[in-house]
């Protein structure tokens, strides 16, 4: 029970950022799992059939770090200074915490010559919470600090989505081969939306008159939900389509570049819908007392009505997929394992740029480097370091075992910072991979 309590606390208090599961592209480079992020890298080497699975759990944020949590445990005290330091280190308006998990329930691939085909089913859940330093600062320090200023308290929003993707994929050499040439990868997705919570707008502004005589509040929020009132993992409330496109440019046997655009598309929700929306401005001048000398009345009802949302049912809405550009260069040194196409030494340079701020994706660019060492074609082990994305900094490691070029088991993490540099650890993730090839 304590573990569960802690896990909840850890995941919520320690905000996590959606991570990208990049480690799977480092140590399981050519299998079905990795091709989820690099469609053109789907290649089974000398094998013809592969069965695979992948589980990925992530959490991250850009404000809270593990050092604070660690200090809490040791000192048993949260000080005002801790909170002040935390607030001062936050971004004024762009703070996000997120968590999620992906299950590749099923992954099948087969290959004829250099043309590979794959089919997979992936369940994805992602949640993010966006908040501002101003809002937390208001709660902690009061509004006097903002007197005479127009301040943004928003965005203050939550987004969550649970989807099930049925994915068909193919990859083939456009010309040349795997040492010199261009290979294309295409994935088409039919997506079932099991449930979603979407806040496309969540503006909140406040102005406190310097003498405190009035407070102006401007707000505009819109919340859509689908399938949350009675969640059923086997029923879906929306459908959508998506696509991943990728190309691998094999410039030489030692260097290649993958360029992919992932998660193009959206899910349209049209069942079990509810929407809440309200926008307006309100000037608060205190509880207005009418009929002071007879039967005093206060305007509390009016105040509550100002913010009471308009509820509607049946309005469909769309949630875009976290579309992003994924670039990865690979420098391959040493003897290559022909069965898996893994070289002895592999250096990776990864750049990810999200095009929207959605659960599972961020506009903050991600830049990472990694090294993978292949030991006797049995063990792959390596480490990675990254900047940006959902975290400020990230250091990860990955490891896989290859049994007779048939069974490959791997574990990896893009972010183990809390274990290494506590004050820089703002998230954590773990990826488990397994593949069986024939």
């Amino acid at each position: 029970m304590k573990n569960l309590v802690f896990l909840n606390f850890f995941l919520l208090y320690f905000p996590l950022f959606s991570q990208y599961n990049v480690s799977v592209t480092y140590c399981n480079h050519n299998d079905v799992n990795a091709s989820r992020y690099e469609p053109s890298e789907l290649h089974l080497g000398k094998k013809h059939f592969q069965l695979s699975g992948n589980y990925y759990l992530w959490a991250g944020n850009n404000a809270f770090h593990y050092g604070l949590f660690d200090k809490l445990q040791k000192d048993k005290e949260l000080t005002s200074e801790d909170i002040d330091n935390l607030l001062s280190s936050m971004h004024p308006t762009k703070n996000t915490l997120g968590l999620g998990q992906d299950y590749q329930i099923l992954g099948l691939a087969f290959q004829i010559k250099n043309i590979a085909f794959a089919f997979s089913v992936v369940d994805k859940f992602a949640f993010d919470f966006n908040y501002t330093r101003n809002f937390l600062s208001l709660l902690w320090q009061g509004n006097k600090q903002f007197a005479g200023q127009n301040i943004d308290l928003g965005p203050l929003s939550m987004n969550a989505q649970y989807t099930r993707e049925f994915v068909g994929a193919t990859a083939f050499n456009l010309f040349g081969d795997m040492e010199k040439g261009v290979r294309l990868g295409i994935k088409a997705k039919y997506i079932q939306g099991l449930g979603a919570l979407s806040m496309p707008t969540s503006q909140l502004k406040m102005y406190t008159e310097p003498d405190g005589r009035y407070i102006d509040v401007g707000f505009n929020y819109h919340l859509n939900i689908s399938g949350l009132s009675k969640f059923d993992p086997l029923a879906f409330n929306g459908t959508g389509y998506g696509a991943d496109l990728g190309a691998t440019f094999n410039f030489s046997p030692k260097f290649s570049l993958d360029a992919s655009v992932l998660d193009i598309g959206a899910v349209n929700y049209n069942k079990n819908l509810k929407s809440y929306a309200k926008m307006g401005t309100y000037r608060y001048e205190g509880m207005f007392i009418k009929n002071f000398f007879s039967v005093p009345e206060m305007n509390t009802d009016t105040l509550a009505a100002v913010f009471e949302p308009v509820e509607t049912e049946g309005n469909g809405f769309s949630v875009a997929l976290p579309t992003r550009l994924f670039l990865q260069g690979e420098l391959k040194l040493g003897k290559k394992d022909d069965e898996s196409l893994q070289p002895k030494h592999a250096f990776f340079f990864t750049y990810i740029q999200g095009f929207n701020q959605k659960p599972g994706g961020t506009k903050r660019p991600y830049l990472g480097v990694a090294y993978n060492y292949d030991l006797h074609e049995i063990i792959d082990i390596g480490a990675s370091a990254a900047l940006g994305g959902y975290n400020r900094y990230a250091i990860g490691t990955f490891f896989s075992l290859n049994f007779f070029h048939t069974l490959k088991l791997g574990i990896g993490s893009d972010n183990l910072m809390p274990l290494i540099i506590k004050k820089s650890g703002t998230g954590i993730d773990v990826s488990l991979n397994a593949s069986l090839s024939f």
Binding site: K76, L78, G142, N143, Q145, D211, G286, F293, T397, P418
Partner: protein, 347 residues
Amino acid sequence: MLMKKLLYLVVWFILIQACNFKPDEIKLPRWQSEWLGPLSKISLSPQDIKSIDSIQFEWGVTVNHLNIAPGSYPSLPAFNGVNLSETIKTSDIYYEITFDSAIIKLFIINQMPFTIKSGTNILVKKNNSVLFSFTVNNDILPNTTFSSPEFDFAGKKLYNEVEIYLDNLSTQAINNPVTITGNEKLTIQFEIKNFQLRELAVESNNRFEVIDTTDFSFAGNEMTAEAVNGKLKVFVENQFPIQQRIQAYFMDSLFRIVDSLFAQAFVIAPSNVDGQGYSIDKPLSQSEISINPQKFENLKNAKYLLAKATFENINQSVPVTRMRRYDAFDLQVVGDLQLKYDFTKNK
């Protein structure tokens, strides 16, 4: 094996941390915040003053007016066509009231020993202008009260002094012995109600006071917070052309004064007026009240608020100043408070 160790490392890390982490043992910091904002706003206008929700004035006609001396009489003759008049004061507060709408009703309470005969005419005048006129169409027996129908009084004025005329007063003769004590009287009573004021005029150098009590609840009753180094700012925008002194007393459930809003009455500057006595601006006056933990507790314990307003028509350049129905003084209380809350202490 290494993979298992890595997996174990992550799981171990989470579980061990969970076992060690006991949120209840964490000492939380004191919440200390500074809040600035309006607490309440009250708008007072002539229309809101409870004491003039209904206006009454009366004239008591005694036997002396009929030249009947106290004593015993074998009989009393009838009076026919008697005309009486009197100037009476209707108020010490206003000089003149103009009504947008109002209803006036006349009551005649006959405590004379004889019957007042129908045909008696009652007039209310000011400077030869008739404000109200009514002819009694029933006989009024001794010890009975006559009520007139309600009449529209919209657009009419009531002055602080009016002349009441009792014309064509006729009575029935008493043919039996009767004793006159001198206390017998005929009360002519007027009631003006359901009114909307158009204007209230006050003479210079006049002064009147309004006192009222209302329920009070201080925001934050559920909190055990102390407010320290805080203050309440009081702002008044006064559209009345008269100076005001206001004070409010906070009282507990037994109506004992536990504190006052101001250490001394808050003097509010009057608005300036034009040549006819109408206000032409709404000057702002402000004051501050320091508040300490003791005062905070006093206000939390307060259940009633006794408000006292003194209106003084001084220092104006015109003999009469005028307040329109919607002229008001708006009183606003703003909190500039530092709140503290000890989460650990209050866990």
